[in-house]
Amino acid sequence: MNTERPEMQDRLERLASAQLRQLPSLRAPAALEARVLAAIALQASPWYARSFRHWPLWARAGFVLLAAAVAYFLSGESVSVFNSAHSELATHGGGAVTEVSSWLNVMRALGRSVVSILQAIPTNWVLLGVAMVFTCYATLVAGGVFAYRTISKV
């Protein structure tokens, strides 16, 4: 039967429209309303109680800057600044200040250790590691594609 004739197209459109017009809406799942209400409740909670992705831009930027400052401080680059501050504290400070400064000493030593370990890794090893990660990722994607195509043909 040739379906390309104009009169056939008109009748087909009329019949299809009549049938489709009578279709009622599909019933939404019963859980939909509860899901939406839960999502709205989550949205209404303060930004700091939600995940980092939902923080306001200034808070995210502030956090990143703070983290960078801490990393810089721990990396030992700020040793001279820290040493002068430490001497000042040791001269004028009491017991609590001494405790804080000894805690800072531990953190500084830890930061130095991490930096010296990172600096001790040969460049070739780093490149080899990156290449291995890339190879593993590519293998995983290829495996996924193969599995998808195999399963979708079944």
Binding site: A16, Q22, L26, A28, P29
Partner: protein
């Protein structure tokens, strides 16, 4: 929300043909509506707004899904040379489904709609349920108007053929 949830869910479910995805899209639609609650609460355009957002989110989902599948290399855009043959089970007689009860006929059509390939189902749903003109559908789907008309025509033929075959088999 209760008043419109079936309409929003139906729009997404018929476009995506994926109940779980349709539920996610319906949730996103109501979240967007909540953000604009003051504007929409008493607006007579609220149902239209909800339907448009549901349609756009569904089309965005289909577009992303298509990109992923084309990356995997297992998605055929469409079959331009396919020819729909209605066959002997089918006639364009408007009374052919009259012997079937309403709810049964609706189920036949709904199942036939779900069985359509995406490139036929999506323009058909946009035309008949979202009442979009051919030009808008073509713009949304980034294809020519002639292609949209051809796909909708084939979709109608396939839909009614599938429904007629199911009807013939079940009775």
């Amino acid at each position: 929300m209760r008043k419109y949830q079936d309409m929003v869910y139906s729009t997404a479910a018929r476009l995506t043909n994926d109940p779980a995805q349709a539920e996610d899209i319906a949730q996103a639609v109501f979240m967007k509506a909540y953000e604009r609650f003051d504007e929409l609460a008493e607006a007579p355009t609220a149902p239209g707004w909800l339907k448009t957002v549901a349609t756009n989110l569904s089309l965005n989902h289909l577009s992303r899904y298509r990109k992923r599948l084309s990356f995997i290399g297992d998605w055929k855009r469409d079959e331009d040379d396919e020819e729909v043959e209605l066959g002997p089970e089918f006639s364009l007689d408007e009374s052919q489904f009259d012997t079937v009860a309403d709810d049964e006929r609706q189920q036949l059509i709904e199942r036939a709609l779900q069985s359509l390939p995406e490139h036929q189902r999506v323009p058909l749903v946009l035309f008949h349920f979202s009442e979009m003109p051919y030009q808008d559908i073509a713009a949304q789907l980034k294809v020519s108007v002639a292609k949209v008309k051809s796909d909708i025509f084939r979709a109608r033929a396939t839909l009614l053929k599938h429904a007629a075959i199911r009807n013939a088999h079940e009775h």
